[in-house]
């Protein structure tokens, strides 16, 4: 342990010394860029949107021309049959359609890669991870070509086996499914990587001990892998919940700003965007943004509760 070097006391005390100022201020100067940027781009928008949530404001009227309306914006969003509820239902539906299969497939896939395909692991991971880092616009164009009603590959394949054209991006009950497929495809690789890194953190010794005790591969998966993977599962689930509840770009580019046929894929984030920036009702938009935050918070807490209940979370 190093002793603290005492400041030279013999030095004459001056009212202001550049050295002393520098010594005291330097640390703050070095950390200030983060705080300045955080204040401007993090804290201010947060506070401003909370402020706006209690006001009626058309941005075209200019800053300052807002009108206090109390809880009206929240009441509007929560009252039936507001589009906010509809959009929340759509968001959860697309989220489940894409999120549940994501984990049901990513986890066993990661297990198999970790157990039997170690040799090709990096190659496979790269391929699986590729959709995640691909530009959303490019993805959407490609899937647009697959889904296209008259010119698409999917319908061509169906026509070969004699099935009629399916309106993937026009029939209201199919649109969420078509969007969910893209979301699933895009993030499944990300989850595989998460689970792989979790699996690799599990010590080989545990498996060896189990082998000695005569455990089968399936038993090892359910009694060793799953319990020890719980922290990583909690992390991956949380990311999926947060990401899916804020789903915006895939449906926005695939079916357009209005959310496609009858707003069938109008997620909450898209609805908030439309209300704030198309209809220019900033207060109502901000109120919904906070309600969406609340919904995400509650869902994350439920997730947290479910994982900690088993006592397996370290």
């Amino acid at each position: 342990m190093q002793e603290r070097v005492p400041l030279p006391t013999s030095r004459p005390r001056r009212r202001w010394s550049y050295d002393r100022f520098q010594q005291r201020a330097a640390p703050y100067m070095f950390v200030s860029p983060f705080f300045i940027l955080f204040l401007i781009f993090g804290l201010f928008p947060l506070g401003f949107s909370l402020f706006l949530a209690f006001h009626l404001w058309n941005p075209l009227d200019g800053l300052g021309n807002w009108q206090y309306v109390g809880w009206d914006n929240f009441k509007l969003a929560l009252g039936a049959p507001d589009q906010f509820w509809v959009s929340l239902k759509i968001t959860v539906w697309i989220g489940l359609l894409s999120g549940v299969p994501q984990h049901l497939i990513a986890l066993p896939l990661a297990f198999v890669i970790n157990q039997s395909l170690r040799k090709w692991q990096s190659g496979i991971s790269t391929i699986l991870f590729l959709p995640y880092i691909t530009n959303a616009v490019a993805i959407t164009i490609v899937f647009g070509m697959l889904y296209s009603e008259n010119l698409g590959l999917l319908n061509y394949a169906l026509s070969v086996v004699g099935l009629g054209p399916v309106r993937w991006l026009a029939q209201p009950d199919l649109v969420p499914v078509s969007v969910a497929v893209v979301v699933f495809w895009r993030y499944v690789g990300w989850n595989v990587i998460l689970y792989l890194s979790g699996l690799q953190a599990i010590s080989e010794d545990v498996y060896e001990a189990a082998t000695v005790d005569g455990a089968s591969k399936v038993q090892k998966f359910f009694y060793i892998t799953l319990p020890l993977l719980k922290p990583m599962m909690f992390y991956a689930f949380t990311l999926t919940i947060v990401g899916n509840m804020q789903l915006f770009e895939e449906p926005f580019i695939m079916v357009g700003q209005a959310g496609g046929s009858g707003g069938a894929a109008l997620t909450s984030a898209m609805h908030i965007f439309n209300v704030a920036f198309r209809d220019l009702d900033m207060g109502y938009g901000s109120a919904m943004a906070w309600l969406l935050f609340l919904a995400i918070f509650v869902l994350s807490m439920i997730n947290n509760y479910l994982f900690s209940r088993g006592g397996g979370r370290q």
């Binding site: 941005p59 075209l60 009227d61 021309n65 509007l76 010119l151 026009a170 209005a258 920036f277 209809d279």
Partner: protein, 415 residues
């Protein structure tokens, strides 16, 4: 000799600085393809005012209007001249960030009679402020494939006599050629809802801000009923606009007619279906309906720096006949200025339309188009009504119920 040279140099320098002091740059913010119209008039402007430089800032359509919304909200980064498209002019008019051109020093009241009447109303707010000068208009028109109609033996006049005869023609076309009547049933709603409005009515609200949408409104009831009929009788191709399927249908002639602005002719010719040249014709909308389908305006933000020159440039672009014609010939922007519409070029045939004298038809249609009141909640109503229409078309929802639900939802949002 040396002195003279010195004198000449000094005076040249002085003249140079004096010259530099008069130099002004005004910023003009626009979107495609309106920026092409602006570029078309720049050479003439630069000749007339060599010291007034025009700095053109063009962004994509949605980006431009989002940027202008932000700029108006904060009062920062505003251009001197702001281009505004018809879809936004109502919202921007109700805001408080743009100059009222009725007032001095603009005194635009005297110029209003120079323009196609309905455009002036479009740029006027509920409290009668006139916030933007019209530059181009989009007369609504009915385009049809002459070859498909000939094959089916359908008289084009049947298309626009009435909506009933339009649908009847569609059945014949479908039976004889297999082609659909229209891309989507939603288009029928679009035209019926915006034509033959009563005086003082907007599409969704009247001039007193009363909501018109509802199960008792004959216009919406008929628009929904006709759209539903087109869908049930299998007359539409169920193709959305601006999709690859849409362009493909134009190329292959699988859709026989299309409602749009006159400008669609130019888009068909330039990129959607250039090979169909000569196969298209146009006529007026059914039942003597006239509608505006697009249009652009120029406004001056209250916080602009060079309002004087901004106004001069706007007047130059909107009220100078030769500039309006330059924008028309180079960019196909249909002039809002009446005198420009009387130019010889309008009586010439349009080659893409088999040399039909379509411009005269559009000009007359534009002059008969009634002003439609705009409302700041139009976009809210538009989204809600279209969603309900999809429920009717796709899920068999009852029409009266759909209109009742639409009314309830719009009333909640329009506060």
């Amino acid at each position: 000799m040396k002195k003279i040279a010195m004198f000449a140099l000094v005076s040249a320098l002085l003249a140079g600085t004096a010259h530099a002091q008069d130099k002004v740059t005004i910023t003009v913010a626009a979107f495609p393809s309106l920026d092409t119209s602006i570029k078309a008039v720049l050479p003439a402007w630069n000749k007339l005012h060599p010291n007034i430089t025009i700095k053109l800032v063009a962004q994509e359509f949605a980006d431009h209007h989002n940027a202008m919304t932000t700029a108006l909200a904060t009062g920062q980064g505003l251009p001197d001249v702001m281009a505004v498209e018809i879809g936004y002019v109502g919202k921007f008019a109700e805001g408080k960030g743009l100059e009222d051109l009725n007032k001095a020093p603009y005194n635009a009241e005297q110029y209003k009679k120079l323009f196609t009447p309905f455009t002036v109303a479009q740029a006027t707010s509920a409290d009668k402020r006139f916030i933007a000068m019209p530059t181009d208009i989009g007369p609504g028109t009915l385009l049809y494939r002459k070859d498909v109609l000939d094959k089916a033996g359908v008289d084009p006049a049947q298309l626009n006599k009435s909506w009933e005869s339009y649908l009847a023609a569609g059945k014949v076309i479908k039976a004889k050629t297999g082609a659909s009547l229209i891309n989507t049933a939603q288009s029928i709603y679009g035209v019926v809802s915006r034509t033959n409005l009563k005086a003082g009515e907007g599409i969704y609200f009247d001039s007193k801000n009363n909501l018109l949408v509802g199960p008792d409104n004959a216009r919406f009831l008929r628009a929904f009923t006709l759209a539903k009929q087109v869908r049930t009788e299998g007359l539409d191709a169920k193709i959305g606009e601006w999709s690859n399927e849409w362009y493909d249908a134009f190329k292959k002639g699988t859709v026989a007619s299309q409602f749009s602005g006159a400008w669609l002719t130019g888009s068909l010719e330039s990129y959607m279906a250039p090979d169909t040249k000569g196969l298209w014709r146009v006529e007026n909308l059914p039942e003597g309906g006239y509608a505006s389908w697009g249009g652009s305006f120029y406004a001056i933000p209250t916080a602009a720096k060079n309002k004087q020159w901004a106004w001069e440039f706007i007047k130059f672009m909107t009220m100078d006949k030769s500039q309006q014609l330059a924008a028309f010939t180079i960019n196909g922007a249909f002039p809002a200025l009446l005198t420009a519409q009387n130019d010889n070029i309008f009586s010439q045939g349009v080659p893409f339309l088999g040399n039909q004298k379509a411009r005269v038809l559009w000009r007359d249609a534009a002059r008969k188009t009634q002003p439609i009141d705009v409302n700041k909640y139009d976009s809210v109503a538009d989204q809600i009504v279209n969603t309900e229409l999809t429920n009717v078309l796709e899920q068999g929802k009852d029409i009266k119920q759909a209109l009742t639900d639409a009314r309830t939802q719009i009333l909640r949002r329009a506060r």
